[in-house]
């Protein structure tokens, strides 16, 4: 019986038939301001490269399917899901995780706002929420609209409804949304 690619169970023994060889690639990433050179399996997600290879456990593996937002990082300045990003496809990319947002020990305004507004409980989704919020504020600054923007031809104001819609890709199982929204609003006002 074939149980996986190249794995066959014959009687009581599990035998490796012909497991296809992993393909490796060498990439350079700029992670939180530091250049790193890595040899990776082409199958490695950016999330796994950060967590397992570089020891940066700030982005979290919530679902690994692009549904929860816990792995959100800024890639070349834009918020993306690192679990659905192949590291090999971003050779030379500039990655900022929540871990790299503070400058010289001073918290990023979004980080400070999350503390001031008690915008988390267990904290697992928080690094993703914070990277996403930094992205939301940049997008709003550029005048990008959202699904709840009534007048697409005007500039959207960051109302609570706008913040909730723009942050909808980040799930929080503790349900801290009621405090996340004012935290993002406050950080937006402070930018």
């Amino acid at each position: 019986m074939l149980v996986a690619e190249g794995l066959r169970v014959d009687g009581d023994s599990l035998r490796v038939a012909s497991v296809p060889a992993a393909v490796e690639a060498e990439i350079t990433l700029q992670v939180d301001g530091r250049a790193v050179r890595l040899t990776i399996d082409t199958r490695t997600s950016l999330l796994d490269a950060l967590r397992e290879r570089l020891g940066n456990t700030s982005p979290k593996k919530g679902c690994d399917h692009g549904q929860c937002g816990a792995c959100t990082v800024l890639l070349d300045g834009e918020r993306v899901l690192s679990c659905l990003t192949l590291a090999v496809a971003h050779d030379g990319g500039e990655v900022t995780t929540a871990d790299g947002l503070a400058v010289d020990g001073a918290l990023h305004p979004v980080q400070q706002a999350f503390i001031d507004y008690d915008a988390f409980q267990c904290g697992y989704c928080t690094p993703g929420q914070i990277c996403s919020a930094v992205g939301v504020l940049r997008e709003a600054e550029r005048g990008w609209p959202s699904h709840v923007t009534a007048d697409l031809t005007g500039d959207a104001e960051l109302t609570d409804a706008e913040i909730a819609e723009r942050m909808s890709g980040n799930l929080c199982r503790c349900g801290a949304y009621m405090n996340i929204v004012p935290a993002v609003r406050a950080a937006g006002g402070a930018r």
Binding site: V23, R43, V80, L84, T85, L86, W144
Partner: protein
Amino acid sequence: MRPFTFARPAEADEAVRTVARDPEAVFLAGGTNLVDHLRLGVARPSLVVDIRTVTSREVRDASDGGLSIGAAVTNSELAADRRVRERYPVLAQALLSGASGQLRNMATSGGNPLQRTRCVYFQDVTMPCNKQAPGSGCSAIGGYTRYHAVLGVPAAPDAGDPETCIATHPSDMAVALAALDARVQLRGPDGNREIAFTELHRLPDGDPSRDTVLHHGELITAIDLPALPAGARTAYRKVRDRASYAFALVSVAAVLRVADGRVADVRLALGGVAHKPWRAARAEEALRGQPATEAGFRVAAEAELAAAQPQSGLDGGNGFKIPLATRTIVAVLRQLTTEA
């Protein structure tokens, strides 16, 4: 996950040639669907060819007054483009109603229409599925059908029939493009061709494993939007289980021009109801030249849904989509005739 070789060609012709010569090669754009499929075992390529830098990332003004969208333009960039927001609000609204901010930053204009169904049986490789493993049957028949089709499907499909598939196409963007009479620019191993966007996707008939008419190695390089008739108004409305970040149960994209109280031009497309973005030709025919009234809109919507076939299921089936789609069509047309 099966190991794969990764390539990033310098230009589109090389990307097309590279994929065309390996039947197990795939294109990678934003990766939002493909990378998940690699992990799930739904896609098992030997070679992944990154095309994000071989097609245009610009939206250009076309000579006919329309727009030409480079395949690498992200969903976020396209939705934020002032020309799209002002001239094609249906497209901006459709894009903004899809996925999340992070996913829209990754997903591309060429890749979004080529995303695959979110049918839970298709995404579970342990389940029989004619789209995933041709000839194995359809697990959705009599299963959970809330997100499945009511148009372009038979009344009582046979789960064991190797051609049965009641999956829906998940894209919002594609529904807007179908209503806008968009054109798709393709580059293939045998040269370039242009097709109507409404011809890109296909019904499952004969081979449910094929979502589109594209040949292996054929690449979308751009999507062109023709200019809309002066005075035409457009809108997209999506009905879903959550207020945000959910696929459509039913969606409607509409382009409407009313002159002297009568429908002068109308184009309607439906999402969440069929294997492809569903151009509502019957409704359009029933509307054209008729008075632009709510009663007329209802007659037209009912004409379109007359062919719908509710699918039974463990979750109570999806017959609710028929009145829901009817009412959503009416609501969108009413919105386009009553708003200032």
